[in-house]
Point group: D2
Chain length 338, copies 4
């Protein structure tokens, strides 16, 4: 950490900073500039200490970090890429993983038909919401346990893994019985109570980025999972909130490059929630693959016009088929396969 | 809802929209413009229907809401101001309510001394975190049950109500035993599972705005609480995330005017979390009172330099005293008292 | 336009709205709902009228647009794609256009060597800043006329078109003598005085998106150019400002899809200014091509370590060569060529 | 500046950084940590050097500033408050300055009547747009020279100073003949060519914050004016763009505290452009005074329903009168007068 003293800071105030650093077990190097004094706080654990600890001291003007606030998710800590293994399907390897299915499980027929169709077109994991976090209390909230059973049927009949969202601690156990990947939604990225309990299940976990979270906060949230000893973490970029209103969220495409540079975790993209409209799903999906994402999470509905949730952002089967055909050559162009 | 058809939309596509509206029990009025057809969907419950239901239909270009997505929190539904009563202390009335105390409860001495001091200076509710949602898993996470006991001691000794945050469903009951107001933090504003369970407790609930939530989403989240029959809801504005980096969050001061116009719920301001630095707390606190907020939630620490959490944004007692002196004439100037 | 009256609006207030609409030459259709009255204002020119005209009337709660605020840039007005022709090089056609070169022209050697290198690697237009809009008055402001001469030399020696930025009206003429494409920078997107004068020159104009402009505002700014009769307009997406701080600006990749849907103008991407760091330029460039952009504007420097401006975001020649090799198969995968 | 080397940086790479710093005339202090090397670059002029100069060197992971990028606008450089004197009216002193008038000058009667009314109610400077930067080319663009004459008439008849906006270099001279304060609009905050020319006029200049500019960028833009030797600079906060859509821009109220801490320049607030709706103007105006702003810039129209520009955000005379009555006791409460 770098502590910048204000212009008129006294020697006593500088000493105070130095003492505090020593008390925390850090080394200190003083830089007595002509105009300002700068104190470098050194040690491998400074990333775990809040900058406030120094910023609050008298005479200090600002404090900036050198060490990142996350550790376990960083490439410095773990240089090789992590590959998550879901019943033999590898996320983060050469082959891209397509997870597809309805936003919400609505009934057995809808789910099974959609699953069969997307599996036939190249999806290797089925998504489907059982418990739905809805903005309005008057909206459809999901079929809950009934949906889990339908997902289990799909899994056993089609031999394909299942991903579904966990929205509270109470339902972790029942969901973990049926699902192969536990999904943490955008609104729960910093629901730390949930993260700690989830990590204990040893299932692969997909951590969606909070729609207003920085990449640093996202990787620090991943540290909650990794700190519990669960290494099976998949990141999912799903767009961030900006002033642009032609889409629901703005896909932060450069985050793929940033994640690949600073973290070892695999990262997939959800073009459906970012776009909010099926017309833009292919644009984002193609860009994601070209940017280097390890897979996609796509909403597909037999008949989007009749969808109970998020129909506008769902692809129908022919549109999904067209998209898969578009993605294959792009994957090949970046040295991957689908 | 207003459905705008695309330029080349066919009569059949327009009819499709009309049929869908009728099936949902709405009235329809057609506007056949020279260039575009516009369909008005009318009925008192359109606010509860997602715009996607129509946006997904072929030929539709865009759908915009006329009814707001929230209902119970709206002034249209409930024209008079709601006043929340916490053991005789009224939030939303003529008298402003100051809630103050440490970010986190650290020990009995610290809490009691701070409480005594702020009560003596005009605070009528004590805040103190027992369960802390921290960005990093390596940070101090709160004293939990021990902190609740210390808060209970303060309450019985000083005869002052307590507000503390609930971070997950499992702890609602124990917290509800000791606290007078249950606080929902910014990161949990859309933790709907938590909201539903909380509302059942019949305690007053303070709902902090998500730092990237629109006012509409905030009031819609309040509907989750109100829909369970709990009318004791206090809103708390605590700043939103923007590109400006000189403060932790940007206080959205005009939200006070928007809330007062469209909702009947009382709204208080948390200048501490917005500022992120004690130097800016008075600026925001003064502005909040002048803007029309019903109270403040302020972090105060006996010795911010030694605080375990958020010391930088905490006022020490002399600074709190100075602020209270500044606020009194402003309150008077806007026809309120402290 | 759709005018929503407040709940208690009187018949007289509704009539007032209707009269105002008639006075402006619009048709009106009334929707007398059970709870609220909605007035649809119809006519092909409503896009040119501010919503304020109605929002300000007593009893009105809100006004929303159906017609877009831009007209000439819209696909509704001009259904076929516009292809801009720069001395035989077509922007917006099947072949992607790569514009490359230094951020600022520094000297003749640097410019000529860079131009030769990037031309040899597939660039068909040379970029180079002569007049630089710098955030700080203490930074290098460009070589101005000297730079224009150097650009002219490159043009005549290598037979390749030149693009350079115009930062004020006074220099339009001299720049227009030497440059083939006149570039409007992000900070000038809404410098309407500049836009009007520029449009008179009949050169192709590249309009960069303001870093905090919505797509609607961007296309409306393009209308300023088109309204002067200049149809040679190229859009350039260069990232928007968000709370994410790992890059300088967040590339708004879905804007490519939105532009292609609602406008006929070609759109290129500037990955260098968005990234702010050479490490992320390839991520964004690959994504842009896959998303459907018509070309790229890339900063290349012989020796970024010695660059006077923006060295960090510049590719050196080997990195540019590597990127071009990466882009070719992606272009092919989306049915384009480089 | 603090240069953080990457984990595996070689001694040679560190030396390269040191040499570059020495070449630029800076002192260097090395911090050889156990995990990472940190190089402190010291000297009073580091604020004028781009961080890129070091960030681009091999082995460097990140570079952060200690010195601010602006200098002349900083309180470190000029500790006492600057008070701008406009024909005897002082901006930045104990007395608050209210500038009021129509968004655009529409005709002589409207302007004179409005000016007379607001002067009578306490305004000491008249605002009125002659040249209007409008988002759409189809909107009213201002009366230009005719408006300037009308403003001059108001000035001579009422003996009150005039503020009006300059949108391009060509009109500086004619505007400077008639206006007392030259206003730079939000969209031109970084129109550096304009700033440099304006500063030569020696008139007081009001620099509006760009709606997506950070405070640092704003103060750095002020440095363009101050560097030309013009010390008569007034800052104007007018709201920033965020995701919140209930107002046109979000008033960044804490910026008042930040400006007062780090700069010596006076700062006024424009509640009208931030709000976008007259209903929220009083909320923001009251908050601004309480926060410590030195004055307000308010749009007032005789009959907002008939306004050619921005009627929705204009107060009519009775509303302005009511607001002035509300502001007086708040001003007094913070030790100021109106």
């Amino acid at each position: 950490m770098i502590v910048e003293m204000g212009k008129g800071a006294t020697r006593q105030q500088v000493d105070h900073v130095v003492k505090r650093a020593h008390a925390l077990g850090f080394e200190v190097q003083l830089n007595l500039g002509t105009e300002k004094t700068v104190v470098a706080i050194l040690g491998s654990d400074t990333g775990k200490t809040a900058t406030d600890v120094f910023a609050v001291l008298p005479g200090v003007e600002s404090v900036s970090r050198v060490m990142k606030p996350y550790k376990l998710a960083s490439r410095e800590f773990h240089p090789q890429n992590t590959i998550v293994n879901v019943n033999g399907i590898k996320i983060g390897g050469q082959k891209l993983v397509i997870m597809a299915g309805p936003c919400a499980v609505e009934n057995e027929h809808q789910l099974m038909e959609t699953a069969r169709a997307v599996q036939g077109l190249g999806a290797s994991i089925i998504r489907g919401g059982a418990y739905k976090p809805r903005t309005s209390p008057f909206s459809f909230q999901g079929l809950e346990k009934k949906a889990l059973k339908m997902l289990a049927t799909v899994k056993s009949e089609l031999g394909i893994p299942i991903i579904t969202e966990v929205v509270d601690i109470q339902n972790i156990e029942i969901i973990a019985k049926h699902a192969d990947i536990l999904q943490v939604g955008s609104r729960n990225m910093q629901n730390f109570a949930l993260l700690k309990e989830l990590a204990k299940m040893r299932h692969p976990i997909m951590l969606k980025r909070g729609y207003a979270a920085t990449i640093k906060e996202w990787l620090t949230a991943a540290d909650y999972l990794l700190a519990e000893g669960n290494q099976q973490v998949i990141l999912c970029e799903r767009g961030i909130r900006t002033f642009e209103d032609s889409v629901r969220f703005s896909m932060d495409i450069s985050s793929i490059g940033v994640i690949k540079r600073f973290s070892h975790l695999p990262v997939v993209v959800d073009p459906s929630h970012a776009a909010g409209h099926f017309a833009y799903v292919p644009t984002i999906a193609r860009a994601a693959i070209a940017a280097g994402a390890d897979g996609l999470l796509i909403e597909v509905h037999l008949n989007p016009e009749e969808a109970l949730v998020d129909g506008l952002q769902s692809l129908n089967i022919p549109n999904f088929e067209r998209l898969m055909a578009e993605l294959k050559p792009i994957a090949k162009a970046v040295g991957r396969s689908i």
